[in-house]
């Protein structure tokens, strides 16, 4: 909107990206690089979820199914028909976007409250999980399958596989954030702020609220689907456990709530904190679930607004 805002946004995004880009120089071990990649993957999925839940209050509880259906479609097509993965990933991405747009359409057409959209999408998540296990001849059920290698061109030989993936994800992140920022500073950004504030008033003032919501669900889910596919190819082994409610949806939800809904930096910080926490908690085995449960309760009892809005309020810094 105004020049200052634009510069402020650019600086903050630049700082974040530079820090992220330097991390592989500090953490070079194979395990550390894997964790760094997971960090970026979850961050991108959280940004996608933020577009849907954070900006338009549509409670989707099927991030895992969106990411997973994208991966299963593209991975299986690539594996079974020998198609170049880069050619089928867009198909998976579009599928995820289409599914989300469909749910969003139903929600606005039937005027579903958040809780009912949540349950509908949760049903879809669980149907997806059951289908993957049920269609074992195609999906390999719990055993899963090994997708073909995704070629990253000269990057791989230059940096090694993990680093190549990492910088590919950094590029995707930069593109995402730049688009995100310009959208937020455009009329659509204003419409999003208005909708978050008061849907009925937005409609009366002339905003096509339905269209904005469906579009955001489509865009957010495309990002989730695209990242979800990269997650599977990066993991080099695809099993339902990657995309389960407990292993993906809940973590993404916690990352977003902790970081702060409807902020640009929130998903980045949230993904960072909980990727580290996840690694610390890993040795606990089944108790990890307990720990996540407790964290979720604490977040919603004491910390509903999220860390970025909280810092913003305390320090008056113009965080985005």
């Amino acid at each position: 909107m105004d020049k200052n805002q634009f510069r402020n946004d650019t600086i903050q995004i630049l700082i974040a990206v530079v820090i992220l880009a330097l991390l592989p120089l500090l953490f070079r071990g194979a395990y550390q690089l894997r964790v760094l990649n997971l960090f970026l993957l979850f961050m991108l999925i959280t940004i996608g979820f933020n577009l849907i839940f954070g900006h338009t209050n549509q409670l989707f509880l099927c991030q895992g199914a969106l990411a997973g259906s994208s991966m299963y479609v593209s991975g299986l097509l690539a594996l079974n028909y020998g198609i170049e993965p880069w050619l089928v990933i867009p198909l998976g991405t579009l599928l995820a976007g289409g599914l989300a747009a469909f749910f969003s359409f139903i929600a606005v057409a039937r005027k579903l409250e958040a809780i009912f959209l949540g349950i509908t999408t949760l049903s879809f998540q669980l149907i997806f999980q059951n289908l993957i296990v049920g269609l074992r001849d195609i999906t390999g059920a719990d055993i899963g399958f090994i997708p073909p290698e995704l070629s990253l061109g000269p990057l791989t030989s230059l940096l090694g596989r993990s680093q190549a993936y990492y910088y590919l994800l950094i590029i995707i992140l930069v593109v995402t954030l730049l688009i995100y920022r310009s959208v937020m500073n455009s009329n659509i950004g204003l419409a999003l702020k208005m909708i978050l504030d008061d849907e009925m008033a937005s409609e009366i003032v002339g905003v096509n609220v339905r269209r904005v919501k469906i579009t955001m669900a489509f865009a957010g889910a495309m990002l989730i689907g695209f990242t979800g596919a990269l997650y599977g190819f990066f993991n080099a082994y695809v099993a339902p456990s990657l995309y389960e409610f407990t292993s993906l949806d809940i973590i993404v939800l916690i990352m977003l709530i902790f970081g702060g809904k409807a902020t640009i930096l929130g998903p980045i910080v949230g993904a960072g904190v909980f990727t580290i926490l996840n690694e610390i908690l890993r040795p606990l085995g089944p108790l990890t679930v307990l720990a996540y449960g407790v964290v979720l309760m604490i977040l919603f009892i004491f910390f509903r607004e999220g860390i970025i809005p909280w810092i913003k309020n305390k320090t008056k810094l113009p965080l985005i």
Binding site: L190, M194, D198, A201, S202, I204, G206
Partner: protein, 244 residues
Amino acid sequence: MTIILEGKSLTKYFGGLPAVRDVDFEIGQGEIVGLIGPNGAGKTTLFNIINGVLKPDRGRVIFRGKDITGLKPHTVCKLGMARTLQVPRPFLNLSLLENVMSGAIFGNHNTIARSKAEEIAYRMLEVVGLNHKHYVIAKNLTLQERKKLELARALASNPEIILIDEYMGGLNPAEVKEAMELLQRIRKEYKVTIFWVEHVMRAVMQLADRVIVLNQGLKLAEGKPSEIAQDSRVIEAYLGGGVV
């Protein structure tokens, strides 16, 4: 006088009970028409039907010769019909400037540039008398200021007609006078037709060209304010039967 807005036998039921029944009306270009009636008469429901918040069970709404029945509020707004609400709903977490710009950007029939929208917003905030508070966040406003802000937001969309749902409630006599001057000015300077629900009778009776009276969802009477004030049916609806 050309007719700008027309309602034909508008009817709406809530759970089997009629809220608005067979209401016909015509509003001419440039008029100020008051819509009055006791609580529960169906005034707000009628407004909701006109601008598309509710779909009528029967009847049509014609706006500038076009049938707009069943169109969504955002489309109706772009066609040139703005609206303010009984309980004002500005965007509480946005600045006053952004609030009014939202009207200019999204409510306008034509696409307008941001800089132009900002210019309009400044002007409208001045018109309603909030020009010293551009960067204040709307949740810090008093109820009266919120009403003004909502009016500015509605005006910013460059409407042909504006539906105002109670503007004067809670004002002291001096403020009522000021508000009346504001409405006059809006009509004169911006050529906006005004369809206006109001409980402060003094204001309606002085300002409106015509008054429509609703009671129990039915149109009870229609005419010049002086005629309405003498109409025994109206008096009975307001004050109860057996009036002196």
